[in-house]
Symmetry: C2
Subunit: 577 residues, 2 copies
């Protein structure tokens, strides 16, 4: 038996297997997942596993390695979140999300930090040796809402899109703030004296970390899109690039101490549109499926590890400190949401209702990020107290808040997500309103959301698409393809009958695919059916094609070449004769 040799991959595979089997197990009994969130069940499995390991070895089970968490488990989840992020509600609410993520998190950090310092001054609790800086450091790691925990719970309760994006967007974007504050306080803890210049450097650093992450992410995203332009002959490795480039963006950002989460989200959102247009349909299915699978496994592993790591002797159970931490987390978040929403509502027409505010405050779940950060703390004599407090906060938020949020949503009758997709009419109206508002903003000289969106769209169609998209993008709808074939066939017949003179009737006839297409067509269609189809299609589709794909502020209907125009009219007239 040679276990040493295969130990690493064997144990990794076994853990993933355990996670997958646990997931199957829950879903076998249908009622369970509808009452208890999966995250709770997984932590529970982890607790049992940890108990078994603890019982057998009589020592603490291994805790989740922070490196493994940040380098291997977190990226797939964030990538999945970024790739499937609904971009419209995200950008519509970006201001509010940033306010919650930046100001809200800072508010929570300082609120929790200072009030816990106050608690430490009470003699009876025996906590006088925990300094203000340590309390602020602890506040910086416990304040941040966790995207993994939020996603696990909010995916199951189906609240309306705006509410979902507000909580989820905040949990993703607060990473930049958390990174900066956590590292700042940690370095302050090790410094002998703190100068005021360090504090200002910290504030400046926030912008570097956040915007740097966006820049790194976008550059990798565009490179990924550019790379997929050239994969036409080797479709099988297309999905790889999506994963490789986004992972590289995360690692690069982490390497430069920027926010990896922000980078990977920017990368995923940046590349999605172009990659989807470039890669084949099967590749895209694989990308989507594998992303979901991977994030689902990562998610499962994180919660199981959370459970396992909870068992053991890493904790110092000073209950006053722990209880006050839970209370302050709840109170400061509630206050923060109330105050910030008050300001947000003053500047918006679509206000955030008080029910929504309650869910935003109540949905501030903590998770594995805090847990990993607390283990990364430098060793000092009260680290075990912080670990205990973090564990209790996580378990409290995931179990108590996670399990009660669904009944609360039902009870408050919070507006739910609409189940049906928007109708064509609605879509057209939304689009029309976008253009209208962009125009109004342009005339009134107000550079608002629609103005910038419109400018971005112009930049995209004028430059980005030309660089990042493949040149010959085939129309994907089969009805358009069929119409194209029929048109070509007819033009060929006309040309053969000599009615159109010497040149080919249609520019696309020059492409060498035509012959094959035609042969196929003749094999499969009989002339009666064909004529019939052609008539229907010509009546309906010709006009659509003539007027261009859709109204666009930056192209005029008359922009097609007049020569082509004239020729097509000629063909049409010949046909009618």
């Amino acid at each position: 038996l040679d276990y040493q040799h295969v130990q690493v991959p064997f144990e990794i595979t076994l853990w993933i297997m355990l996670a997958s089997l646990a997931k199957i197990g829950f879903h076998l009994y249908n009622r369970l997942p509808s009452v208890v969130p999966e995250s709770c069940l997984l932590i529970f499995v982890g607790l049992i596993m940890g108990g078994i390991i603890y019982g057998l070895n009589d020592r603490s089970p291994p805790v989740m390695d922070s490196d493994i968490f940040f380098l291997y488990l977190l990226p797939p989840i964030v990538l999945d979140a970024g790739y499937f992020m609904p971009s419209r509600p995200f950008f519509e609410n970006i201001g509010t999300i940033l306010l919650y993520a930046v100001v809200g998190t800072v508010w929570n950090v300082f609120g929790i930090g200072f009030s816990l310092y106050g608690i430490c001054q009470v003699g009876a609790f025996r906590l006088q040796d925990v300094s203000l800086l340590h309390n602020l450091l602890f506040g910086s790691l416990i304040a941040a809402v966790d995207p993994v925990a939020v996603l696990a719970v909010f995916e199951e309760i189906h609240v309306n899109e705006k509410l979902h994006i507000l909580v989820f967007g905040e949990s993703l974007l607060n990473d930049a703030v958390t990174v900066v504050l956590y590292k700042l306080f940690r370095s302050f803890c090790e410094m002998p004296t703190i100068k005021s210049v360090d504090v200002f450097a910290g504030v400046g650093k926030f912008f570097v970390v956040g915007l740097g992450g966006v820049l790194v992410g976008l550059s990798f995203g565009f490179t990924a899109a550019f790379t997929t332009r050239f994969t036409k002959d080797i479709r099988v490795i297309e999905p790889l690039f999506v994963f490789l480039y986004s992972y590289l963006s995360y690692l690069t950002a982490e390497m430069f101490h920027l926010s990896g989460i922000v980078a990977i989200i920017a990368c995923a959102m940046g590349m999605k549109r172009y990659v989807e247009a470039n890669i084949s349909l099967k590749s895209h299915t694989t990308v989507k499926y594998f992303m979901k699978m991977w994030s689902s496994v990562s998610d499962t592993l994180i919660f199981i590890f959370l459970g396992v790591s909870t068992i053991g002797e890493n904790h110092e159970w000073n209950w006053p400190y722990i209880c006050f931490t839970v209370i302050f987390c709840l109170v400061w978040r509630a206050l923060g949401v109330l105050v910030l929403t008050f300001f947000v509502n003053r500047f918006h027409v679509n206000t955030i209702t008080s029910k929504d505010q309650f869910i935003i405050a109540y949905g501030g779940l903590r998770g594995a990020i805090c847990f990993s950060l607390v283990f990364l703390l430098p060793d000092f004599h009260r680290k075990k107290l912080f670990i205990a407090a973090t564990t209790v906060v996580i378990l409290f938020t995931v179990f108590v808040q996670g399990m009660t949020i669904r009944p609360l949503v039902d009870l408050l009758a919070v507006k739910r997500k609409r189940e049906s997709a928007p109708t064509v009419g609605e879509q057209i109206h939304i689009r029309f309103l976008d253009h209208l508002l962009a125009g109004i903003e342009d005339i009134s000289g107000h550079w608002g959301q629609y103005y910038w969106k419109d400018k971005l769209e112009y930049f995209n169609s004028k430059y980005l698409q030309k660089i990042l998209l493949r040149e010959y993008d085939q129309p994907k709808s089969s009805i358009v393809l069929l119409y194209e074939k029929l048109e070509r066939k007819h033009a060929m017949e006309l040309a053969q009958a000599g009615q159109l003179g010497h040149g080919p009737a249609h520019p696309s006839l020059l492409s060498d695919r035509t012959v094959i297409t035609d042969q196929k067509l003749e094999d499969t269609q009989n002339p009666d059916v064909l004529d019939n189809m052609q008539e229907i299609l010509a009546r309906n589709l010709y006009r659509i094609r003539r007027t261009g794909p859709a109204y666009n502020r930056h192209t005029l209907p008359g922009e097609t070449e007049p020569a082509e125009h004239a020729k097509e009219i000629l063909i049409l007239r010949h046909k009618n004769l």
Copy 2:
């Protein structure tokens, strides 16, 4: 900058990226891949990379770690090979394949080992210190044909299926022999004296290693199939199980010193049939796509690393030894193929032609497995000579044989793979002949291939399918589904009109999906089209369904329950009225 922290994943990602970009690069220029096999190009890229690293650092570039190769790069390729193995030609030629793989490899090992020992006795070459055992050890690692190299070349030349499976099957199954002989000679090298009992133990060990691998693989394969029975509610992690179980089978086999390659192939071939039936179509696309992608990347990395590792100062260039190694590899393989094929042809009707024999002998490419094994050799003073000889043999076979085999196949007019799929008529005839031959073998008391195949099929349908397949297996063809819907709808109408008494007309009406199905049907079809369709379908499909899926020796046409039978006839008569 914190490079240390992200180094491992960052460098892995960069290597994979390099490999993928290299692949894209070759395919951009269309003529290149049709002349030079991709494996040669990749080794060439590796050589350049190695040269750059060597030039910059002035020391040997890092060689491919044998652990990385055997634990991470080889399994995906073998899994892909096993999963997409055409099982019919494989099992039809299993005897010949095993003969080549076992006897042929032993023949090569001893042939090459003894003749190289003869060369070592020539005083002018200064090789007297290389013992017979060392030569045999070297023979055991250089004799084995490499599946990765064979696959890379044979996938591009499209020879006929039988020839392909003979070379490829041999390259896969000789792993068991290689493992045993390599480990045997290596332990002999370290033993002071060798007893004859050790030699017999070695022979016994071969059966343990090979059959043990098959057993481990099959048990994991069936467990995988069994697991996918329960993934109905959680489709997204289905593809995971295919990868996890097959990887576990490989690792478990390696752990017990069995043949990992044989295990993973047995696992993949064992589970394929059941897994495919259990998992969803999208999951299956993902499995196939990801397997291809993964093996393609592994393959690319292996050849690049081969190139990189070639550069450096690990070699002792004793040219006589190296040249004679190349010559003996060619000569002994050619002799082995000739002799073994002579015996094979005496017992078979479909003989292996002399052209095929030449391609089998010429297609015996060596690759990364030899390379990894030679680096795993215990340190002794002539290890660098063995490394040099192995490198030259690999480069010679991959470059010279790999590049000339395609022109030779053209020149000899070797029978090619048929491009078209077999027609329905052919398939029916093949099936009919199978049953006929199984019957003849049964009557004549000859327990041949068809007899066992038939017994296996019986065992499969009687026991395995019941355990491993999901109970409610839906027919997947849309025409069958449509017919089912129409039949149900009609039965419903009859039941509503009271023509069939109280009970529901068809057992399947009891399922709760019916109502939804019916509603959908009413939405989409208009009555005229529906009646028309129903008539056509009823005429054609009803009879097919009545007589069962196909003729089967183990089920009789009358085996459906008589009650159901009677009811269906009743429905049919009512309809005709």
